[in-house]
């Protein structure tokens, strides 16, 4: 025996279900607005994926220090290990007392006591008068394209799942 076809959001707010016949013979407004709720939910879920994909990419880029404007003294330098020492180490650099997680390649160039300056989004910084070139890490590059791909998948899913099924 088939249960009521749940292809539309035909459930009432009290948890009961409308029969297929009542959807067809009753007001056509209810199924239409329910489908609107589905589309809104799909859009919000897709937006969640897009936002956090962006957060991941931005966070990876921020560790290169490229997005940062800096005019500070290096006040501390700490390396914390995670699961794979030497691979996923966390380099924490204090700049005027404010701690930043930076890529190892950048942090290694910043001895405690050094004076550091750079413009926002500049690809070079000055460390005690010496110019230091900056580049995004491999992780940041990979995170950029994979975040774009994931966002595209989410938007594609929202579009595909939001298409109303033809009446059978």
């Amino acid at each position: 025996m088939r249960s009521p076809e749940p292809s539309d959001w035909s459930q009432q707010s009290d948890g009961s279900q409308r029969s297929r016949g009542s959807q067809q013979s009753g007001s056509s407004q209810r199924p239409r607005s329910s489908h609107g709720s589905v589309r809104l939910a799909l859009a919000l879920v897709a937006a969640t994926v897009v936002v956090f994909a962006g957060v991941g990419a931005w966070s990876a880029w921020a560790r290169s220090s490229i997005p940062m404007a800096i005019d500070a003294e290096v006040t501390s330098l700490e390396v914390r290990t995670e699961k794979h020492p030497g691979v996923d180490d966390v380099w924490l650099v204090g700049l005027d007392g404010e701690t930043h997680h930076l890529d190892a390649a950048v942090a290694r160039r910043l001895p405690v006591g050094a004076r550091v300056s750079k413009d926002r989004f500049a690809r070079a910084m000055t460390v005690d008068g010496d110019r230091v070139e900056l580049a995004p890490s491999d992780d940041a590059g990979a995170m950029t394209w994979i975040s774009a791909g994931t966002a595209a998948v989410a938007l594609g899913l929202a579009g595909a799942l939001g298409i109303r099924r033809p009446a059978r």
Binding site: S3, E5, P6, S7, W9, Q11, S13, G15, S34, S37, V38, L40, A41, L42, L44, V45, A46, T48, V49, F52, A53, V55, G56, S59, A60, R80, T81, E82, K83, H84, V87, D88, D89, V90, L92, H101, D139, A142, M143, W145, I146, G149, T150, V153, A154, L157, A158, A160, L161, R165, R168
Partner: protein
């Protein structure tokens, strides 16, 4: 295949596809796909529980995803905090939670698919832990 199950499979299938892309993109960072898979699996299981209790309104499913994101932030800040609170880890597990949200929306439309969703959710959690702690 029952009507509508194709959409559920599409939604569920997107999760391992994206995770596979992570594995390829970050060969030295298995924790990245691990967080994505763990976030997706845990959110899917949470969604299954909600659908079991009461077939939810679509916007409630959005709430389930956001609750999962919040719980993920709390666990990242506490039990899974190793060197520091890592916003990349939070982002990856939240992307997984969002992708699971699509599948939960389809589960809510087709409650008979809850068994499939539960099994997939468990598999994703196990795979997530294996990658995260590989």
């Amino acid at each position: 295949m029952r009507p509508g199950e194709g959409r559920l499979l599409l939604a569920l299938g997107a999760i391992p596809v994206v995770a596979a892309a992570y594995v390829v993109a970050f060969p030295t960072r298995p924790d990245y796909p691990g967080h994505l898979l763990g976030g997706a699996g845990a959110t899917l299981l949470l969604g299954v529980l909600v659908v079991l209790v009461r077939r939810p309104h679509p916007l409630v499913v959005v709430g389930v995803v956001l609750v999962a994101v919040g719980l993920g932030a709390m666990t990242e800040q506490t039990v899974f905090r190793l060197a520091e609170f890592d916003p990349v880890d939070l982002a990856n597990q939240s992307v997984g939670a969002g992708l699971a949200g699509f599948a939960i929306l389809e589960c809510a439309r087709h409650p008979r698919s809850l068994v499939v969703a539960s099994v997939v959710g468990l598999l994703l959690v196990v795979a997530g832990f294996r990658y995260a702690f590989a």
